[in-house]
Amino acid sequence: MSTLPPASPHAHGGASIARTMRHVQLALLPATLFGFWLFGWPAVHLFVITVGACVLTELVCQRLMRVESSLGDGSAVLTGWLLALSLPPWAPAWIGALGGFIAIAIGKQLFGGLGQNLFNPAMVARVALLVSFPVVMTQWVAPLPMTADGAPGFGEGLQITLASPPAPDAIASASLLGHAKTELSRGVDVLHAIGAATDPLFSWVGSRAGSLGETGAIFLLAGGLYLLATGVIRWHIPLAVLAGLAIPAAIGHALDPAHYLPASAHLLSGAAILGAFFISTDYVTSPNTAFGQLVFGFGIGLLTWIIRSWGGYPEGMAFAVLLLNALTPVIDRYCRPRILGRTYRGAPIDAAAQRGVK
């Protein structure tokens, strides 16, 4: 014990960073396992490589900087986990490895390590990969469950991930958002383009093409509710993200159903649920106050809808998150809680007025 007398409080509630990270990982587990099952062994290999790359990069960075290793808090594992879930499930190994390196080295350690980064590391890596390797990053495979006939086994999966042969045409597919965008550009309206793909049951259970961990909306939602129930996250950001996405989508679809996807399709496809509950809610890169979090979340939802509807990419969640991350310091500056006994402007409140109304 130090020689200086420690100041109060002399008690602690027992919360810890490691515990928080464990809760988030537990919440991600169902959707991840579902992704493994849906996309088979290549997805498992990609996941392991991405997480491994993050852990290794963190280890090397901290060794080089001669600081104590913080692997025990589980944050590097979580970053790799989230990144892996946002990658095409049959992406080659080098995508995962490079992504893990970018996320930890550039997205996190360059800023000064845990708590210092301005941008969500997993999204930094995803966006860097997406703009650098657009073809590889948008090559989706149709679901081929692990248990189905013709699904690659462990060894075959390893070959797909490591040697990255072009995916057989038979299983190449497009995500719902990508498909709608392509068809729209060919002059086919979305109503005909997506057809049966918007069947709610189909979207909820998520047996469709997409990133490794974003398809199983119901599993992600369950995980999100678990985080809410355990108090790891609060409702403000997820609800605001979903509202920011659904409200303009509903208005757009009502005005021009041939051009704008319905709100349900927006909510249940792409990274909407994953982004709302697991990515936007990253502590480090989101605002501190309840009101600021509502602004932040709504901004992400709205921007995602704008990019999806009018932007060059079919999916915009990652871009929207990064843009709002950049705005977080501004939001924090203008959305401050009111101090007890003071007005929002900081002046002491008027005691006489209160006595009057009593």
Binding site: P5, S8, P348
Partner: protein, 508 residues
């Protein structure tokens, strides 16, 4: 932005934390009375304000309740002999404070008889003038027993001047581990209510509300029964939420009124007294009995027989602990020795320090209870923002303090911090936030003192420059007059001081 307030419910006391309370079984054990110690150490400063001035000499014999030190200045409190005996020393002892610095105290050797001095009782306190009640409370050396130890008479008589119409009695006792107020309300409810009635009369308030956290159902029932015959006194259970016992938060919870920043509850027509203070006021006014003892909670995993003990002021904490069976052998070395509760109490270097009027607890905590761990980096999770009952951004303030930018920390509300400890208690990274705030407040105080000193120097230098200039001018004028011979015109009046003073900034 009132609509946001309503939406996010910031107008109510909705923040704060729910610490594990550790109050039972100590709270359920009957109060024990300590046997008379052989020697008592009574510090001269046990209250907020100026230290009392010793009114006895070494070798004097004193009776129990005899005044041994007189108040000095407007905010101070008298001190009385806790038992009968002989004064053996007046001088420094180790302070009941983390610094362990010396503090002036009167040491009394007990004669074992514990004989009271002659006391002036009063059959009907309600016939007394309110000002007279204030005088009697002051003479009895009563201070706030909730921990702050502010002289009660000052607050009581100040109530009339400030037009206070509501008396709030603080039975919140939100600090974990402590149960002395709980025990007092269960055992001496009638006396407490009688004291509250006397205080109502003295403060000139319309009604009294007793706020008790709802984790003390026995106390609520006892106080309700005692207050049944008093239409002006009401018991109001409040939610169990730390820091409910903070004056401003109890006022907010009971009335919805917000005490202005830098203000006092009197600004919104409220005065707050602790429930134990009410009993002390009753003893002082009805029986003329000064404050010489109090209830102290002895608790913590390391204590063999935790409970509440009636202790004479000046008893060494060590002896109180010994009376409670001493330390448990199976718990290893204690992690913390505390005076007061774990959230705001003080770590003391050893327990060879006396119990004073504001001591509510003697705690010996083990490592599990303290939950000490190495601090990690801030992950901006904003747990502290949600915990802060004042509405501050503890993470932002701490960041400014780490960077040495105290002015920015003040802009973020450092001076509004009540050091309740909620932020640090909930911080998942175990960052000692309150320690940062204490440090910064100390730096600020030192800086303010320096500024005052510099200003004083500046004023002196300026005055000197003005004087020199005036003297030179006067000399020149006299010389000029002498040269010109007798002048029919009167000399021009000297210029007002300061108007032509040279800037004297840098030299100071």
């Amino acid at each position: 932005m009132g609509f946001i307030d309503r939406f996010l419910r910031t107008r109510k006391f909705s923040r704060g934390i729910h610490p594990e309370d550790h109050k039972r079984p100590a709270a359920d054990a009957l109060v024990r009375k300590m046997p008379l110690p052989e020697r008592l150490y009574v510090p001269l400063l046990q209250h907020v304000g100026a230290p009392a001035h010793a009114a006895v000499a070494v070798g004097d014999t004193v009776q129990k309740g005899q005044r041994i030190a007189a108040p000095q200045g407007a905010i101070s409190a008298a001190i009385h002999a806790p038992t009968s005996g002989r004064i053996v020393a007046i001088g420094d002892i180790v302070a009941p404070h983390p610094s362990g610095l010396p503090v002036a105290a009167i040491t009394i050797d007990s004669d074992g008889r514990d004989e009271w001095t002659t006391l002036t009782a009063c059959a009907d306190p309600f016939a007394l003038e309110p000002a007279e009640i204030g005088r009697r409370v002051s003479a009895a050396g009563v201070v706030g027993l909730g921990g702050a130890a502010f002289p009660s008479a000052v607050k009581l008589s100040g109530g009339r001047d400030a037009n206070v119409d509501l008396l709030i009695i603080n039975g919140g006792e939100c600090e974990p581990f402590l149960s002395c107020d709980d025990r007092l309300m269960r055992d001496r409810a009638e006396e407490a209510v009688d004291g509250i009635a006397i205080m109502l009369h003295a403060a000139g308030a319309r009604e009294a509300r007793i706020g008790i956290e709802d984790n003390k159902p026995e106390a609520i029932a006892a106080m309700r029964a005692a207050a049944a015959g008093h239409p002006k006194i009401r018991v109001e259970p409040v939610p169990t939420r730390y820091p409910m016992g903070s004056e401003k938060h109890l006022v907010l919870a009971l009335t919805g009124l917000e005490v202005p920043a830098q203000g006092r509850p009197a600004d919104v027509g409220v005065v707050v007294h602790n429930v134990a203070t009410a009993v002390a006021v009753r003893d002082a006014v009805r029986f003329g009995r000064p404050l010489v003892s109090r209830l102290v909670t002895v608790n913590g995993a390391c204590v063999r027989e935790p409970g509440n003990v009636e202790v004479l002021i000046g008893t060494l904490a060590d002896e109180v602990l010994e009376f409670c069976g001493g330390l448990r052998a199976d718990r290893g070395a204690p992690a913390r020795l505390l005076m007061g509760g774990p959230m705001t109490g003080m770590q003391v270097p050893s327990l060879r320090v006396p119990v004073i009027k504001g001591t509510g607890g003697i705690l010996v905590l083990d490592a599990d209870e303290v939950g000490l761990r190495t601090p990690g980096p801030c992950i901006r999770c904003s747990t502290c923002v949600r915990a802060c009952p004042v509405g501050l951004l503890p993470l932002e303030i701490a960041r400014r303090i780490r960077a040495g930018d105290l002015d920015a920390a003040v802009k973020f509300g450092l001076k509004d911090c009540i050091a309740c400890g909620c932020c640090a208690y909930d911080c998942p990274s175990h960052i000692p936030l309150v320690q940062y705030f204490h440090h910064a407040k100390g730096e600020l105080a030192a800086r303010d003192r320096n500024k005052l000193r510099n200003e004083a120097t500046k004023t002196l230098a300026q005055a000197r420059a003005e004087r020199l200039e005036r003297e030179t001018r006067e000399k020149a004028e006299t010389a000029a007059r002498r040269k010109a011979g007798p002048d029919p015109q009167p000399a021009p009046a000297p210029r007002p001081a300061g108007a032509a003073a040279p800037p004297a900034g840098e030299s100071a």
